[in-house]
Subunit: 466 residues, 2 copies
C-alpha cells in the first residue's frame, strides 16, 4: 500500500488524493443499500491521470471504483472490495454544443440537466430526463444507461450517445463511434460501454445527439376510480397513433402519501392518476388532446384536467415529483425497484403487485413510467426491523420473478449493481450470462474495474439488512 | 470432409443440403466484389439445426458463413475461406405484430419491406428503409445494421431492435433483451450483435420496436445551380427546428445519368437536386414546408416543387431510385461507398470528392442521405480494365481518408466486410481495434463464424481487381 501511494503521488497532485477516514466514509455509500470503506479517494480531471492510475491498479492488483454524484439506486459506485474510488464529479468543465452537427460534447462530471439547458439556447433538446437529472452526472447516466419519463417517446441515454472516449480497464485510451449519426465501422463499443455500469471502461468524453426542441408542450391529468381501467386507457392511447412525450402513473398509495406530505388537493379516494405530456406542433397537440380526452371518457375517468399554461402544468408534475420524498416520511427506508414489463402487461403487473403487497404485508407503493411498462414499485420499510426486512426481501424477489414471467426485465433504468446481481441468471440463463462474463474477463483480465457488480458471486442472495 | 458430411446428414434433412458446383457457385458472390466457392450450402429453418451445425463446425474446424439474400455491398456473406454457407433466406415464415406492445417478432429470412407492410395494417410503422428493403432479409439488415433515407429522423436498424434470439459461435442458444423498451439488465448484447456482420452469432429471431405511423407525408424537390449552396440549405433546415423524415441529394453526374437512362425531365445543367420528405401532422407539415421554401429561396434554389399528391411524390422519388440502375449503364462496375461525415462537414466532403474525381480521373457520382452526412460516392468503372481499377483503388482509399479526417467514418450503413477491413486501424487506432478483436476471440475461439470479415489480415490492402 505504501509503495502504491508513492507511485500514485508521482502521477496525481496531492490535493486530489484523500485518505482520511471522514473523506473515505463520504464515498462509502450511494442512494442504494450498504456501506463499504474505500482505501482512498482520488479526484481526477483528465484522461492521462486515469490511464496512469489504471495501469498502476493493474500492477498492484487493487480495485478501482469510478463514481459520479453517487445517486445510484442499484449500488453502481459502491467500493464493495475497498480499493480506490475515482471521483469524476469534479471533471465538469467541458460542455460544447455544435448546433450544425446537432451534437453536444461533454466531460463526465457535467450535470445532466445542464446539457439540456445549454442545448435549449440553440433551439435544441437533450431528451433523456432521469428524475435525478439536476444532481446526477452524465458520466453516471452513461454508466447506468439512465431512463426517465421522456423515455416513452424519445428513448433512453444510450439512444443519444454516438461517440465516446474511454480509458480501458488496462489503461489504454480509445475512441468509439464519433460525431456521425450513422456508423457501422466494426463492433458497436459505444453502446456496449454505455450501460456497462463502469465495469468495461471509464468514460472521459461523450458525444451526444441532440434533436430540435419541440415547438410546444401540453400537460393533462386524468383521475381513475379503477386501476385496471387506467391501464386499459394507456394501451388504447398508445395504439391510437399518439405517442406522448411522457405518460406517468401514481397509484392510490402514492396519492395518499403525497397528500399527507404536502396537500395539493389530489383525490385520495382515486385508485390512479395518469399524467400525460404531449409535445410537437401546437395544432397537432390540440387534436391529440381531444382524442385522449375521448379515450379517458371511454375508460371511465372521473375527472380530466388540461393545464392551461406552463405554471399549471408544473403544478401537475409537482405531484409526481413529490412521491419519492413523500413516501420516505412514512418509514425511513425505501426499496426502489424498476422492474419493467411489455406495455400490454401493465394491468397484469398491477394485479401481481397487489397480490405481493397482501401476501407479504408490505407497504408497497406503485408509480412510474406507465407508457413504457417501466413501473417503480417502492417498498417503504425500516431497515432496523429485521423481521420486516426479511418480508421485504421476499417481496422484492417475487417482484423480479413476476416481471420476468410476464416477459419483462429486472431493471428498466436503474441498473443491476450489487442489488439485482443474484437474479441475473433467472432472466438471462447460464449461457447468456456467460457471454457477458467473457467480455468482462477479456477486457479486464485482472478484474480491476468496478468488481463485484452485475455478475453474481456463487450463491449470492438479496440481503437488505445491514 | 466425408466424416463431416455424414454427421451433417444426421442433423439436416438431405433436401436442405446442396453440394453441386452450380449450387455452390450461386452462393459464391454478393453485390460487392470477389467470388469464393463454398464447400457446401445448407438451408436452415430452425435454431436447433443451426445450434447442432455450429457445434459440428467447431469440432471439424470448418468455417460457417450465414447469408440472407446476398445484397451486401461490403462482402458480408462471402465465404472467403470456403466452408459452409448457411442460407437463412428460406426461414421467412414468422412475422407477428403485437400492436398492444408496439413490437414485431420476426424470423431472419423475412424481407424487410414486408415488416413495414404488416405493421401498417395496425396503424404502425417499422421505420428502417434500406434501398434494398424489398429484396433484402431482416437477418441481413440486422447483421449489417442497415440504414436508409429515413435514418435522418428515425435512426437505423439497431435503434429498433429490442430483443434477439441468437445461436452463439459455439452453438449455444441465448436470448438478449426482450419485449420491453427499457432494459438495462447486464451488457447490451443486442446492440453488440446487431451490426457485428454475422461474426458474433447467428440471429434466429428478432423483436423489433414499432412506432405509430405518421398521419401524413409530403414530398418536395429543390434544384440548385451551386452544390455548396445546397449544402448550406441542408444545414439551415436542420438547425431551424425541422427534422424531415428524408433529405436526399443527387449531384449533377447522377442527374445526367438518370436522364440518359430514363428521361424524367430533370434539369441536367443543375449542380444538385435535393429531395425532402416531411411526415407528421398535416398542419405541422404545411408550416414546415413554407419554412423550407423560404430557406431554399435564401440559398438561391432555382426551382422548388411540391408534390400535390402521392403519385407526384412517387415520381420525384423515382429519380432517386433510378440513380443506381442508371449509373451501371455507363460502365459495368460500380464501387459503392458510404463514407459518412458530421452533418456540418457535408460541403467540405463535396469539395474533397471533387478533388478526388479530378486527381484520379475517375467517374465519381455522388448521391445519398444528405441530411445525416451519409453520402454515397459511387465510382463507375470497368473491373476488366486493370489500369483504371488501380486508379479507382487509390481514389477509394482517399475517400476513406477524407471522411476520417473530417471527423467521419468509413461506413455509415454498408458495413466493413472484406472491402473496408484494411482501413479499420486508420479510424479506430490499434487499441480500439484490439478491444473489438478480443470480443471476437473470446466469443468464437475457433474463428468459425464468418471469418475473414471486419478484421484486417496482416498487410491486407484494398484490391478491386479480379
Amino acid at each position: 500500500m505504501e509503495l502504491l501511494m508513492e507511485e500514485i503521488s508521482r502521477i496525481i497532485p496531492s490535493g486530489q488524493i484523500f485518505t482520511s477516514l471522514a473523506d473515505r466514509y463520504s464515498y462509502s455509500y450511494d442512494a442504494s443499500f450498504g456501506s463499504y470503506l474505500p482505501e482512498m479517494v482520488i479526484q481526477v480531471k483528465n484522461k492521462e491521470e486515469i490511464s496512469s492510475l489504471l495501469k498502476l491498479a493493474n500492477t498492484f492488483n487493487i480495485p478501482v471504483y469510478p463514481r459520479g454524484q453517487g445517486t445510484s439506486l442499484s449500488g453502481g459506485p459502491l467500493p464493495v472490495n475497498g480499493g480506490i474510488v475515482l471521483d469524476m464529479s469534479q471533471w465538469n468543465g467541458d460542455l460544447n454544443i455544435y448546433p450544425d452537427d446537432l451534437v453536444a460534447v461533454v466531460s463526465p462530471g457535467v450535470l445532466t440537466a445542464t446539457i439540456n439547458e445549454e442545448a435549449e439556447k440553440f433551439g435544441l433538446m437533450y431528451p433523456p430526463d432521469p428524475s435525478s437529472a439536476h444532481v446526477s452526472t452524465i458520466g453516471g447516466n452513461l454508466a447506468e444507461n439512465s431512463g426517465g419519463p421522456r423515455g416513452l417517446k424519445y428513448g433512453v441515454t444510450k439512444d443519444y450517445v454516438i461517440g465516446l472516449e474511454v480509458v480501458t480497464p488496462e489503461g489504454e485510451i480509445i475512441k468509439t463511434g464519433g460525431k456521425t449519426i450513422k456508423n457501422v465501422t466494426g463492433y458497436d463499443l459505444t453502446k456496449l460501454i454505455v450501460g456497462s455500469e463502469g465495469t468495461l471502461g471509464i468514460i472521459t468524453e461523450a458525444t451526444l445527439k441532440l434533436v430540435p426542441k419541440p415547438p410546444a408542450t401540453k400537460t393533462m391529468m386524468a383521475v381513475f376510480d379503477d386501476l385496471v381501467q387506467s391501464g386499459k386507457a394507456i394501451s388504447k392511447i398508445l395504439t391510437s397513433g399518439i405517442l406522448p412525450a411522457k405518460m406517468e402513473i401514481m397509484d392510490q398509495f402514492s396519492i395518499i402519501a403525497v397528500e399527507n406530505y404536502q396537500p395539493l388537493g389530489l383525490p385520495i379516494d382515486a385508485e390512479a392518476i395518469l399524467l400525460i405530456e404531449l409535445d410537437g406542433h401546437p395544432l397537432a397537440i390540440e387534436e391529440e388532446m381531444r382524442k385522449i380526452e375521448e379515450i379517458f371518457t371511454e375508460f371511465e375517468s372521473v375527472r380530466v384536467k388540461i393545464a392551461k399554461d406552463q405554471d399549471e402544468a408544473k403544478s401537475y408534475w409537482r405531484a409526481r415529483k413529490l412521491v419519492s420524498p413523500a413516501i420516505v416520511k412514512i418509514k425511513p427506508t425505501k426499496v426502489s425497484e424498476d422492474a419493467t414489463v411489455p406495455r400490454s402487461k401493465i394491468p397484469d403487473m398491477f394485479q401481481k403487485l397487489k397480490e405481493i403487497r397482501e401476501k407479504y404485508d408490505v407497504h408497497l407503493v406503485v408509480f412510474g413510467h406507465a407508457g413504457d411498462g417501466n413501473l417503480h414499485p417502492n417498498i417503504i420499510c425500516d431497515k432496523r426491523d429485521t423481521e420486516e426486512m426479511i418480508r421485504v426481501e421476499k417481496a422484492v424477489e417475487e417482484i423480479f420473478k413476476a416481471a420476468v414471467e410476464l416477459g419483462g426485465t429486472l431493471s428498466g433504468e436503474h441498473g443491476i449493481g450489487t442489488l439485482k446481481a443474484p437474479f441475473m441468471e433467472m432472466e438471462l440463463g447460464a449461457a447468456g450470462l456467460d457471454m457477458m462474463k467473457r467480455i468482462k474477463q477479456i477486457w479486464d483480465p485482472n478484474n480491476i474495474l468496478n468488481p463485484g457488480k452485475i455478475f453474481p458471486e456463487e450463491g449470492q442472495k438479496l440481503v437488505l439488512r445491514e
